[in-house]
Symmetry: C2
Subunit: 251 residues, 2 copies
């Protein structure tokens, strides 16, 4: 355990602290979480839907998609996770995986045992609350996904997704010219956006023509005009809870 290096949990701590107040002792307890590193191959489930889990997965480097499939095997990505995200913290309290997990590119994950997470939540109720809050924020992102897929047309939907991804990779506000540091193919985009790869391609061209986005080498993407993109995607980042720290009523 703990081989990459002892502070590999630092990005997780950072994510938690964006939304919750933690004491020095609590911070240390998070950093001391045990883990087992693992490499996830792209296009290959490392968690299967319905599987019973004993650990949660933390993304140290790369991109992970959460896949659900309908009866015909049509796959739909319901959320994506990047560096610093705890993919399935929820599995600590509901051990049956509601969706499959798959890396979209070669990804390093750290497996954190449920027992350690739950022990921490019991020893430090404030950490328990922070974990709970973490899951609640994830649910808020899902809500945004519902309205994205349900109400926005292909162009807005795609713009919105890139806004979210850019904002999350930048840990706040993205800059014009930034490159989203994860390769995502148009085929993967079609799974994310509930569109066909053909239509993704056409909308991509539309965003390029509007000088909002640019494709760069290896299926990566550059934000050319952040304000324009946010406008095209009707993007309001507040649901990500990355910047402000909402304080609970109870002290």
């Amino acid at each position: 355990m703990n081989s990459p290096n002892p502070s590999s949990m630092a990005p997780f701590l950072r994510t938690l602290e964006a939304r919750s107040n933690l004491s020095a002792e609590e911070r240390q307890a998070i950093l001391n979480l045990p883990f087992v590193p693992a490499q996830a191959r792209p296009n290959h489930d490392f968690v299967k839907q319905g599987q019973v889990l004993t650990h949660s997965c933390f993304v140290l480097d790369g991109v992970v998609g959460s896949f659900k499939q309908d009866r015909d095997g049509n796959r739909q990505i319901v959320s994506v996770f990047i560096n610093g995200d705890m993919v399935d913290l929820h599995s600590a309290v509901l051990i049956e995986a509601p969706s499959a997990l798959q890396a979209l590119t070669s990804t390093t994950i750290l497996q954190v045992p449920h027992s350690a997470l739950l022990q921490l939540a019991r020893d430090y109720p404030n950490i328990g609350e922070a974990f709970w809050r973490h899951c609640v924020v994830d649910a808020g992102i899902l809500m945004e996904w519902v309205i994205n897929v349900g109400r926005r047309n292909a162009r807005k939907r795609m713009a919105h997704f890139f806004c979210e991804l850019a904002t999350r990779s930048a840990g706040g506000k993205p800059n014009d010219g930034m490159v989203i540091p994860y390769p995502i193919t148009q085929f993967q985009l079609s799974d994310i956006l509930s569109l066909t790869a053909v239509h993704v391609n056409r909308m991509m061209q539309a965003l390029r023509q509007a000088r909002l986005l640019e494709s760069v080498e290896r299926s990566k993407h550059r934000v050319l005009d952040w304000t324009g993109l946010a406008c095209a995607g009707e993007f309001d980042p507040s649901y990500l809870h990355l910047t402000d720290k909402p304080v609970a009523q109870f002290a």
Copy 2:
């Protein structure tokens, strides 16, 4: 406080116990939660999106929809709640409402102060875990909603929704002939399913013609053929976590 009667929290306890194991003392603590009853008028927000909240809302009787709107004011219902559901338990840890709440029909809600919920979670870590798990199940329902809206056509989508609603109202497995005890208009259905009211009407006719569903008085609906409906909607109820009790690894 506590006026309807002291055990009004019993349905909430039932919901929690379907998914978590609680001790006698913990059960009693849930039942003793303080609350303020309130009546919610249909088609009128009782919580606005972005509002800062001091209490969570429990549905004692009726239906509540969670609405999100895009910039143009297009509304989309992202989840519905019925008797026994704690609509926004999540607001206890994230006090800014991610969506508006509105009754779809005349509804009785009980407002439970966040302070009481958080105090309970701290005094009884096991209750904290149960609350956390409750929110995680809600998020799982949202995931199903994403694939429903994203991947299923109008007919399947509608069948799936009625399956979910029937299952939840029946607290498990619905029966042929059961009437879903909440009036829902086709206009409301269009907000739920991301369709137009016109198309909802046409799909409704298709389900009626297939002898799967029947409309009864006052916008209510009767399930004629449960197996057929579940098949038409590709419905698998496991994500609702109503029957089995998944036990966490940690004792």
